[in-house]
Structure formats: structure tokens, C-alpha cells
């Protein structure tokens, strides 16, 4: 019996591998060459001048990358930006799910209105914010000023918070949508059973619903962190990473190394170090996340 069972499991595992084959093959085809090429770039003095050439340069790119103080401030910005945005988006998304779930369960199309902000490309939205938040032509600052509340959203003292605010406005819907999906997948009888025990309203949410949503919360927080961590478009369009380098995210930093400073090797070296670092963190973190299961 036991032997048979192991046999079935082994067969199933073999079956299951087929499900992975397509994905792995696809990624290998698309990213295999780029990954190898990048590895070579990072160890050579390759440049735009000759994309197929370049000669071995040892660890020079890595040394240069680590020695560049810009890297550390960009990394700091991205980490902080990612954490702040993910935390706020998660909190807002969760609050909205609890408040709006009953409403949206009956009128699901309303969800669409809350999803709209995601549907505009951040690159374009960045351009538009230049108009909307402009001290002269911007509707929002102009009327806040008339109300006696002058705020320079893009001024040097506020721009940091503004780029965070923009990210949150655009991506809270993401957190909301996934959390809503999780909330709506919680079986009714769980709620009913809890209600019989006298758990309603906030208590129901805190004691029954929330624990059931924890895996999803971790996953959403994780995705939002990663996406915000590598933020590029709207900040690049709005501030160019400035003033100074106060809003230079790691992606903007790498982009500038790549295209403007023409040190491709260094740009790739930074990315590879990032890859290794985050991989290390992920092996620990993600395994934890996907194993944490509501019982």
C-alpha cells in the first residue's frame, strides 16, 4: 500500500514536471542569452561603441560600481520608497476591502471605477502630473492656493512625498483587487459559523477573515514592494531623479549609467549584484511566505 502510494506520487511528480517544462523553456529561450551576455558585459569593458566586442576586465566594473556613492543613495531611496509605498498601499487596500466588500459583492462592476488609476501608463501620467501639479496651470495647487492653502507639490521640500503619493494613488487599486479576490474566496460558511459564535463586524474581520487572508497579504505586500522598489517611469519624467539625487531610484541610477554615462559594464554589474542580493533574500523570504498557510 505504502509502496504503491509512493509510486503514484512519483508518477504525479513526473507529470507535474511537464507543467514546468513550457515555462522553463520559454524563460530559457527569452532570457538565457541575455543573462549570459550580461554576465560577460559585467566582466568586460564593453560599450555601445562595440556591442559584440569588449575585452575581459576582471572585477573592474564591480569595484567601480561599489565605489560609487551614488549607488548607495539610490539603493537607500528605492528601499525606503518600496517599503513606504507597499505598507501604505497594503493598509489602504485592506481597509477598503473590509469596508467595501459587502457593497462590491452585490455590484461588482463598481470595482472597475476603483481600478481605473492603474490603467494609465506611469510614464504618461508623469507627463500629465507636470501640468496638473504645476504652480500656475495646475488645477489642484491653484485652487488649494485660493482656499488659502498654498502647496508646491513639486517643490523641493514636497517632491519626495509627492512621488510617493503618486505611486500610492496609482497602485493601491492593485493591492485592493488582489485582496478583494482573496476576501471573496473565503467560504461563506466560515463567516456563518463565526457569526453563530457571535463574531460580527470588526470582530469577525479581526478574528476570522484577517487570519485567512494573511498569505495573500504577504504576497501582495511583496509584489508591491518589488514593483515600487524598481520604480522608474513617473519619477524619471517628473523630477529626473532630482533635485540632486534625492529622488534617484536604483532603476533611474542604472538607466543613467547605461544611456547617459555610457558605462554599460558598471550598470550591468550593479544589476547582477542586485540580482544576487535579492535572490539570497528571496530564498529565505518567499519560502516563508508561501508556506505560511491559514489553517
Amino acid at each position: 500500500m505504502a509502496g504503491q502510494r509512493v509510486g503514484v506520487r512519483a508518477k504525479e511528480q513526473a507529470d507535474a514536471r511537464y507543467f514546468l517544462v513550457a515555462l522553463c523553456l520559454f524563460l530559457a529561450l527569452m532570457l538565457g542569452f541575455p543573462a549570459l551576455a550580461n554576465l560577460w558585459y559585467s566582466f568586460s569593458n564593453f560599450s555601445f561603441r562595440d556591442l559584440t566586442g569588449g575585452s575581459f576586465a576582471g572585477l573592474a566594473n564591480y569595484k567601480q560600481a561599489i565605489g560609487n556613492p551614488g549607488l548607495w543613495s539610490a539603493l537607500g531611496f528605492s528601499l525606503r520608497f518600496g517599503l513606504i509605498c507597499a505598507a501604505i498601499e497594503l493598509a489602504l487596500g485592506l481597509a477598503l476591502v473590509f469596508v467595501l466588500h459587502p457593497l462590491l459583492a452585490r455590484r461588482p462592476w463598481l470595482t472597475g471605477i476603483l481600478m481605473l488609476p492603474m490603467m494609465v501608463s506611469p510614464a504618461l501620467m508623469g507627463v500629465m502630473y507636470r501640468l496638473i501639479l504645476n504652480e500656475f496651470t495646475g488645477v489642484i495647487p491653484a485652487y488649494l492656493q485660493i482656499l488659502g492653502w498654498p502647496i508646491n507639490f513639486l517643490g523641493k521640500n514636497n517632491v519626495y512625498y509627492t512621488v510617493i503619493g503618486i505611486e500610492i494613488l496609482q497602485w493601491t487599486p492593485f493591492a485592493f483587487l488582489i485582496l478583494l479576490t482573496a476576501r471573496q474566496s473565503i467560504p461563506m460558511e466560515l463567516e456563518e459559523a463565526a457569526a453563530v459564535d457571535g463574531a460580527i463586524g470588526a470582530r469577525l474581520n479581526a478574528l476570522v477573515i484577517l487570519p485567512n487572508m494573511i498569505p495573500t497579504i504577504i504576497i501582495v505586500g511583496f509584489i508591491r514592494f518589488i514593483d515600487s522598489f524598481r520604480v522608474f517611469d513617473h519619477i524619471y519624467v517628473l523630477t529626473g531623479g532630482g533635485p540632486g539625487n534625492t529622488t534617484t531610484s536604483l532603476s533611474i541610477y542604472i538607466y543613467k549609467l547605461f544611456f547617459n554615462q555610457n558605462v554599460l559594464g558598471e550598470a550591468v554589474a550593479v544589476s547582477i549584484m542586485l540580482l544576487v542580493a535579492s535572490l539570497t533574500l528571496l530564498f529565505a523570504g518567499l519560502r516563508l511566505a508561501v508556506r505560511t498557510r491559514a489553517r
Binding site: F48, R49, D50, L51, G70, A123, V127, R130, L131, L133, N134, E135, F136, T137, N152, F153, L154, G155, K156, V159, V237, L238, T239, G240, G241, G242, P243, G244, N245, T246, T248, K256, F259, N260, Q261, N262
Partner: protein, 444 residues
């Protein structure tokens, strides 16, 4: 299933072959997008296709990338040897960077071409002794100022007194108002303070000026005129970096003083070309330093009714070394990877004729052409005359400003100088960081 695939593949092959034959003599031109220049170039290309092109059995068509990240896209294409375009854009500040992917057009620089362009214009498209492009558009900076406001300042005694009081209070010396054409950088600062409502509540506009202080490399080009007028340059004769000099410090402080006095909008740290136009165009700013291209836009009352008939342009303020303005040209040159260089050259040769350039200018282009062509079209284009004149008299390209690393230098300056103006780093740090970077790239 298989048969369908084979059919599809066969069809694709046929189409490709057909396309290839049809396209044999057709060339594609990648040009700078937008505005009157695009409109003008389209007309010139149409004209070419109807005349010289037709005679040569060659047809030219245009493609444009978006202006955002234009050069990044072109760099990727050019470096990878793309054949998507045969003629590509060149610019003074990156001709060195793109030179490896281009074929020089030295043989087009015949004595005849001097009937179209002055030598100085051709020089802006040269790198390491080769000419890479036919110049099509000249770019430099003007002061755009409100005539009505300046006139009143120069004539109204109460305003003059106030001007004297403000300059004494804020700058330590009593100054008299001057006309913008006679300004030094001190007058520039003083007038900016005077027209700022937080300093002078009687000012009819909110701010004196609008500076473009976003961390963007093009903004440094605007700023460069100030440094040059104080005698500054990137490199000295021996190739040594000369950023840690009085000239740079004084130039930096022109911006810093205005920013600290809040005589420029509070969000100037995120301003570039378009934002500055919006500020000036709403009639809330007395004057600004801006690209010559803005004239064609601001003069249109349909777009900017608030300043209709109220503004004028003049050259940049003077420093101890006289008046200077950063200038560059955009041009069109040959993609090295192109299979149709001969056809492409025919087009470029046509482009360099006086007829083509006269047409281009009339339709709204801003080419750096000889006086004769300039005069012929001057009636409709007051900015054209001043551009040619200013470029010849005050035009300045820094040493190293056409090298392969010029864009990197501008990028680095943008980061550090905007940091200084907006108070995130001090002047010494900004200068040191730029010096270190430039020393690194020019040592190579």
C-alpha cells in the same frame, strides 16, 4: 495546420521580397520630432520626392521617435546596426558619441555648400576632423521678457525707487534698472527680485523669473551661458578640468541667489522647457532664460493669450568676459549600417542646397544658414535674424562639449548642480563631484 504554417511562411517570404524590391531606392530619415521644424522638414522631403529624388529614382520618407528618450532609442538602434533608417539625427553635443555608428559626409562639404552654411555651422557637426551631418536647426538661448513690465520699470519713478531699495536691501548695492539688452547677471538677479511678489508686493506678476532646475542634462546647457560669460570652460588648453574655478562658482551662484530668494517658482526644481513656458506663458513671470525654439510657440496668441503682444527677446546677460550663449545645431547624417548610403547622400546633398534651406526656413525651420538666405526670409521671422547674429557673436561650445562623453558630463553636472541649487549638497561638494567625474572620463 502544417500546411497553413508553410503557406504563411511562403506568403511572408514573398511579401518581404516584394517589399525589398520596392524599397531598394527608398530611404528613411529619422528626424527630430515636433513643432515647426517637423512641419518644415516634411515639406522639404515632399519637394525632394517631387524633384531631385524623382530624377534619381529615389523616394525619401520620414520617421520620428518620441522626444522623451529619443537619443536612448537612437543609440540602441545605431549601436546594434539597425537598418530602420538611412539618415539619422546628429547634434553638436553628442556627435562624438554617435560618430562610431555614422559615416562621415566629408565629400558633401564642397565649396558650393558655403553658399548655404557658414563654416562655423559646419564645425558644429564635426568631430575629430570629419563632418558627420548637414546642420538643419540651430539652438541657443534668449532672454524672453515682458516688454510692458520692463518699460514701466524703466519709466516709472516709484518703481525705480523701489528697485533701488530692494537691490540695496537684498544685494547690498543700490542699482538702477536697465533694459534687458544691457543686463549683466547682476541686473538679471536684481530684476528677478524686483518682480517677485513675496519681495515686492506691488509686482503685477508672481515671480521675477523662472529657472529650469530639474535634474535634466538639457537644463545645464541653458545654465552654461552664465559660466562662459564669467570666463569658464570645461577644460583648459591642456585638457585639465576647470570646473573648480571662480567662473563656475559665480555662474552657479546666479542660480543659487535667485533660488534662495524664491524669485523663481517654488517648483522650479522640477521644471524643464515646457514647464518654464507654461509659467511665462500664463503671464505670471516677468522674464526667463529659454531656448530659442520657444519663440515660435509663445508668439502664438491661440496658445498663450496672456502674453499676446507683450513680450520680446534679446541676448543673454553679459559677464566680465562679455555675452555668451551655449549653442548647438541638430543635423542629419548617414547611418553607417545603411545599405543605401548613395541614395541617402543624394538627399543630404539636396538638403544642403540654398533652395532646400530657403524653403525649410520659410516653413518654420531654424537652420544656421548664411546671411543671404537669412535676409531673404527675415520678414516673417524676427527670431531667425537674432539667432544667426547671436550664434555668430556669442555662441560658445565648451572644450570637450562634442566628445563621446559630453552627455555624461552634462548628466553629472545636472545631478550635482541641481543638488546645489536646491540645497541638498553644498557648492564645494557639487564642484568636487563634477570635477572627479570629468577627470575620470577625460583621462581616458
Amino acid at each position: 495546420m502544417l500546411r497553413r504554417k508553410i503557406l504563411a511562411a511562403a506568403a511572408a517570404a514573398v511579401i518581404t521580397t516584394l517589399g525589398a524590391t520596392a524599397a531598394l531606392a527608398d530611404i528613411t530619415i529619422l528626424a527630430w520630432p515636433g513643432g515647426p521644424a517637423e512641419v518644415a522638414l516634411r515639406k522639404v522631403v515632399d519637394q525632394y520626392n517631387a524633384t531631385a529624388g524623382k530624377a534619381a529614382n529615389s523616394k525619401a520618407s520620414l520617421i520620428y521617435f518620441s522626444r522623451d528618450s529619443f537619443f536612448d532609442k537612437m543609440l540602441a538602434d545605431a549601436a546594434a546596426g539597425s537598418k530602420e533608417f538611412d539618415v539619422m539625427l546628429t547634434a553638436t553635443y553628442n556627435v562624438g558619441k554617435y560618430a562610431p555608428f555614422m559615416t562621415p559626409v566629408d565629400d558633401l562639404i564642397t565649396p558650393d555648400i558655403k553658399n548655404t552654411f557658414p563654416q562655423s555651422a559646419i564645425d558644429t557637426q564635426s568631430y575629430n576632423g570629419h563632418v558627420y551631418g548637414i546642420p538643419t536647426d540651430l539652438s541657443l538661448h534668449f532672454i524672453y521678457y515682458r516688454k510692458d513690465l520692463i518699460d514701466k520699470l524703466l519709466s516709472d519713478d516709484a518703481w525705480k525707487a523701489k528697485y533701488a531699495a530692494i537691490t540695496k536691501d537684498k544685494l547690498g548695492t543700490e542699482m538702477k534698472p536697465k533694459a534687458p539688452a544691457d543686463w549683466t547677471w547682476d541686473d538679471f538677479i536684481a530684476t528677478a527680485l524686483f518682480f517677485t511678489q513675496s519681495i515686492n508686493p506691488d509686482s503685477p506678476v508672481r515671480y521675477g523669473t523662472v529657472l529650469q532646475m530639474k535634474n535634466l542634462l538639457f537644463n545645464i546647457m541653458i545654465f552654461e551661458g552664465a559660466v562662459a560669460s564669467y570666463g569658464g570652460n570645461w577644460l583648459d588648453k591642456d585638457g585639465k578640468v576647470t570646473v573648480d574655478t571662480d567662473a563656475f562658482k559665480k555662474g552657479l551662484d546666479v542660480y543659487k541667489k535667485i533660488a534662495d530668494a524664491e524669485a523663481t517658482p517654488g517648483d522650479s526644481n522640477s521644471y524643464e522647457y515646457g514647464d518654464a513656458n507654461a509659467a511665462f506663458g500664463t503671464g505670471q513671470v516677468a522674464f526667463m532664460l529659454q531656448w530659442s525654439a520657444a519663440y515660435a510657440e509663445l508668439i502664438d496668441p491661440k496658445q498663450y493669450p496672456a502674453i499676446e503682444g507683450k513680450f520680446d527677446i534679446t541676448h543673454e546677460p553679459a559677464g566680465p568676459e562679455g555675452i555668451k550663449t551655449h549653442f548647438h545645431t541638430l543635423g542629419l547624417g548617414l547611418n553607417k549600417a545603411s545599405d543605401k548610403k548613395d541614395e541617402a547622400k543624394k538627399f543630404l546633398a539636396y538638403l544642403a542646397t540654398p533652395e532646400a534651406m530657403t524653403m525649410y526656413t520659410k516653413e518654420g525651420g531654424q537652420p544656421p544658414v548664411v546671411d543671404k538666405i537669412m535676409q531673404a526670409v527675415a520678414a516673417g521671422r524676427p527670431d531667425m535674424l537674432m539667432m544667426g547674429d547671436n550664434a555668430a557673436k556669442y555662441g560658445f561650445v565648451p572644450n570637450g562639449g562634442t566628445s563621446a562623453d559630453a552627455l555624461g558630463v552634462y548628466t553629472n553636472m545636472a545631478e550635482n548642480f541641481t543638488g546645489y541649487w536646491n540645497g541638498t549638497i553644498d557648492q564645494a561638494t557639487a564642484i568636487k563631484k563634477v570635477t572627479d567625474y570629468m577627470t575620470g572620463v577625460f583621462k581616458k
